[in-house]
């Protein structure tokens, strides 16, 4: 990937982050911490990697993304809106009565969402089934699955991992959002998961750990995963819950937070400044 493309993806990520902050700011509260930590990975997937047609969300040959940590809906919606799946002004309706953008991603409500999630763990199995289905159909489309590090407490996650490995599903890539926090606190204190890299390797995955804020590292890892034949892939995203917004990072329990106007304004300033910086740099290459 050349420098220009890298900067373009950074710009896309910064835009997703800014739109995500706006969505939650409009609502006044929400699952912002875990939304902000997956932004760069979404930018790489939707900006570069995935085969998609936003005007035809049900296109048979498309690649699939399942956000099993469904509470990251706000980041997914920002990404989909920016790609043109639906009008940007839908973002103002996040979580409000009658919305198409509920708190957790819902296939029946949002164009571009391929699986309903929110009950943690379940997306790992449904994504696995989709990967198997595509393989059986002889399709070369790929499935990208996001799970949380806390979500990985669920036995179902590991049941799905076993299956992916047993059936050699090399058309699925698992992303673990390793942001070290879950709802009641740090993963280490709530339910220590040990070493994700070792765990997924032991489960038979081609496993890589990357800086989850580096679009280049994420992209390279996805390309490497493509080359790993005969086994599923796992990319552990080393991230921070609340990435890009200092006020949020400082809150210890930042899973679902109140986002009062003053804090939202500061957050908006910070993410907008970050976006401006990337744009400036991009203009110079």
């Amino acid at each position: 990937m050349d420098r220009k493309r890298e900067l373009e993806l950074q710009e896309f990520a910064a835009t997703i982050r800014a739109e995500t902050v706006k969505e939650v700011a409009d609502l006044g509260f929400g699952h912002i911490g875990g939304s902000l930590s997956v932004v760069e990975a979404l930018a790489v997937l939707y900006g570069e990697v995935m085969k998609i047609d936003p005007k035809n969300p049900d296109w048979d040959e498309r690649d699939i993304m399942v956000m099993s940590k469904g509470h990251a809906g706000p980041a997914v919606y920002a990404t989909l809106a920016l790609k043109g799946y639906f009008p940007m002004d839908w973002l103002k309706t996040l979580n409000k009565p009658g919305t198409n953008l509920p708190s957790h991603t819902d296939r029946l409500k949002t164009p571009g969402v391929d699986m309903t999630t929110g009950s943690l763990g379940q997306g790992s199995s449904t994504a696995t089934g989709m990967a198997l289905g595509r393989k059986l159909a002889g399709s070369d489309s790929r499935v990208f699955l996001f799970i949380g590090d806390g979500e990985s407490n669920e036995g179902q996650v590991w049941e799905a991992a076993m299956f992916c490995s047993h059936y050699k599903l090399d058309n699925i890539v698992w992303f673990v959002d390793y942001n070290k926090k879950q709802l009641d606190g740090f993963v280490e204190d709530v339910m220590d998961m040990g070493d994700f890299q070792e765990k997924f390797e032991a489960f038979g995955f081609h496993t890589q750990t990357v800086d989850g804020t580096s679009v280049r590292e994420i992209y390279d890892a996805i390309e490497a995963a493509r080359q790993a034949k005969g086994k599923p892939s796992c990319i552990i995203l080393d991230t921070v819950k609340g990435e890009g917004v200092s006020d949020l990072i400082e809150i210890e329990l930042n899973h679902h937070v109140q986002f009062p106007e003053e804090m939202a304004n500061r957050a908006l300033e910070q993410v907008t400044a970050a976006l401006e910086r990337v744009r400036k740099e991009l203009a110079n290459v």
Partner: protein, 335 residues
């Protein structure tokens, strides 16, 4: 285990989950067998406060409800009284196999506190609504199923659950409940409905958040339409207070049930079974979700949408008053 005294003043300051937690803390001071378990919902369910008071009696399972329920069964077999705190949907659905075999079949002393029930977490979407759990839990042998009307009744239910030997499911809402009771002293008893309003024309049998609405409806029906409605707070779904249902049928001949739950198999289903087996002709209607998943929205809006708010209940009662039933049947012969 007397001595608890929650009043309306306490309740208005506390979400129902907080009342549950405070009650459990009080009870745990006297009963060392009580332990609290959660699955990464200590903050949401409010039981986190218990951890501060009794850190050595609090067990965090992470996001692993099935393991929590199975382990709770084992802990109960070892003589403890485990209180599990998770959302209703994950208690009744995700961990159902463990609840079925480990807890109910083996009849162990686990108390499941299922929060964010019905549509009370309406904004979080369908994965977080729990509108089938009463039906599911009611079908499990050995299990006592309680749906308190408000925070004060929750305190009573938690206290009664400790005294009761065997598995108990207590279904509570997210956030603050509208207040039905002023104090804890109204003779709460598992399996005994509370008559909140007397009436001879129709009986509204309600549970959970629908109880307050039913009571408001009864007052409005009386004041505006001169319809005299009896209101029963049917806090225990199992064992159901059959005598109270049969008496209502005899006295008022018209029955309406109201619940924040599907009309299939829950309170409405339970009451329907009693009425059908009694052989007594009754004008009858079940209010709740009509075999549908709920839309997304605020709890109060969803209650209105599903016709279980005051207005919805008033309208349904007025419709029911128009229905015919066999006026001159000699019911005493039939029963």
């Amino acid at each position: 285990m007397a001595g608890l005294s929650y009043t309306s003043i306490n309740q208005t300051r506390m979400a129902t989950g907080e009342v549950y937690c405070q009650t459990l803390i009080e009870l745990a001071k006297e009963n060392p067998r009580i332990v609290a378990l959660t699955a990464d919902l200590g903050k949401s369910s409010k039981i986190g406060e218990f951890m501060k008071q009794f850190p050595e009696r609090f067990y965090q399972f992470g996001i692993a409800e099935q393991n929590m329920m199975g382990a709770a069964a084992g802990m109960a077999k070892a003589g403890l009284i485990p209180f599990t705190s998770s959302f209703a949907i994950f208690t009744a659905c995700r961990a159902l196999d463990q609840v079925h075999t480990d807890i109910c079949y083996q009849n162990v002393n686990v108390k499941m506190i299922a929060s964010h029930a019905g549509t009370s977490f309406g904004q979080a979407g369908t994965t977080h609504h729990s509108t089938e759990d009463i039906a599911i839990m009611r079908s499990l042998a050995n299990l006592t199923v309680i749906v308190p009307a408000d925070g004060i009744e929750t305190a009573n239910a938690v206290e009664a659950a400790v005294e009761h030997e065997g598995p108990v499911y207590i279904r509570i809402n997210r956030g603050y409940d509208q207040q039905v009771y002023e104090t804890m002293d109204y003779g709460y008893e598992i399996g005994r409905a509370v008559t909140l309003h007397e009436g001879s024309d129709v009986t509204i049998i309600a549970c959970g958040s629908a109880v307050f609405q039913a009571l408001q409806a009864a007052r409005e029906l009386d004041a505006v339409y001169q319809i005299k409605a009896r209101v029963l707070d049917m806090h225990t779904i199992k064992p159901l207070d059959k005598a109270a249902v049969l008496k209502a049928v005899k006295d008022t001949r018209r029955i309406i049930t109201a619940e924040d739950h599907t009309v299939i198999g829950g309170l409405g289903g339970a009451v329907a079974e009693v009425i059908a087996e009694s052989g007594m002709a009754t004008a009858f209607r079940r209010l709740g979700l009509q075999d549908k998943f709920s839309p997304i929205g605020l709890h109060e809006d969803l209650m209105a949408h599903h016709g279980i708010d005051t207005n919805g209940i008033v309208n349904s009662v007025r419709e029911l008053m128009q229905l015919d039933f066999e006026e001159d049947l000699d019911w005493e012969d039939e029963v």
